[in-house]
Amino acid sequence: MHEMGIVSGILTASVETAARENATRINEIRIRVGELTEIVDDALHFAFEALSPGTLAEGATLVVERVPGRSRCVECGTTFNHGRFDVECPSCKNYFCELVEGRELEIESIDIDLPDETEAGETS
């Protein structure tokens, strides 16, 4: 259950950014999570519900985009998607491949309300 730590990282960065923009609230937080990390969506949402109240992100939606594993073959340069097992080049059947994507743990963007657009934000 390290999702608590992950979510507190998400909240810190989002709230800092929102505060810098003088936001009144955060509507949405978008994150990217690689399939090859040990992050469980349910645990993320649970931690978010537990930790966000009382912050600018209270009531915000946490949108999790999953990034599939993707590697590049060191021999022939083919790039291909894969799961956790059998990271094997589909062209030359080589196992020596470099991971290109799949370990992301990244905050992509936040959607915030600014003081003068609060009403517009709420009705949109």
Partner: protein, 225 residues
Amino acid sequence: MKVDLSKPILDRNERFAAENRALFDEHGVFVLDLLASPGAGKTSTILATIAVLRDRYRIAVIEGDIASDVDAQKIKEHGVPAVQINTGGACHLESDMIRRAVDTLEIAEIDLLIIENVGNLVCPTDFDLGEHAKVMILSVPEGHDKPYKYPNIFARAEAVILNKYDTMPVFDFDEDEFREVVRRLNATVPVFPMAATKDQGVAEWAEWLAARIESQRARADIPTD
């Protein structure tokens, strides 16, 4: 209004990890992050490794546990500097904890720093501590099917120790299947059968480690012995 952040969630951890690694590299210290389930034999493996390598290298240990300092005491009894980190319930170590622990060690007097992570096969794998290699210990009684259940840790390890190898006759452990699954997760990772408390297989593992220590020293331009 949409604001782009595009920054790592574990930004803070990654920053400290990079600082740790720079410090280790500057002093030519090779740092090992040792991962395993509780009871797989992390501390026994560390003691066995110390016994084989202590005449060649200066070793220190950082012990990560949820509570208590029994592991650090065991290491210190063998005359090796050891720092205990208590995570107070947290399931993994983070890079700033390592930084504070390292501050209490004489980093310039160390060739090999072994970090014993909290006994857990899930959470520690996502946290960079600034180490040079993560190594995974699986003990035979845990079963050959562990890599199916905890694939990430096997995929990230740079070596796998198969500990309590001497108990193989009593357990229904299919070594061929184990090696095959590990290969499918991590095609090039070496597997070292070992019985740490019986001094079996320790020399082969220690040689692998010594080669890594030597290349780290060479990078830092420290003469080999």
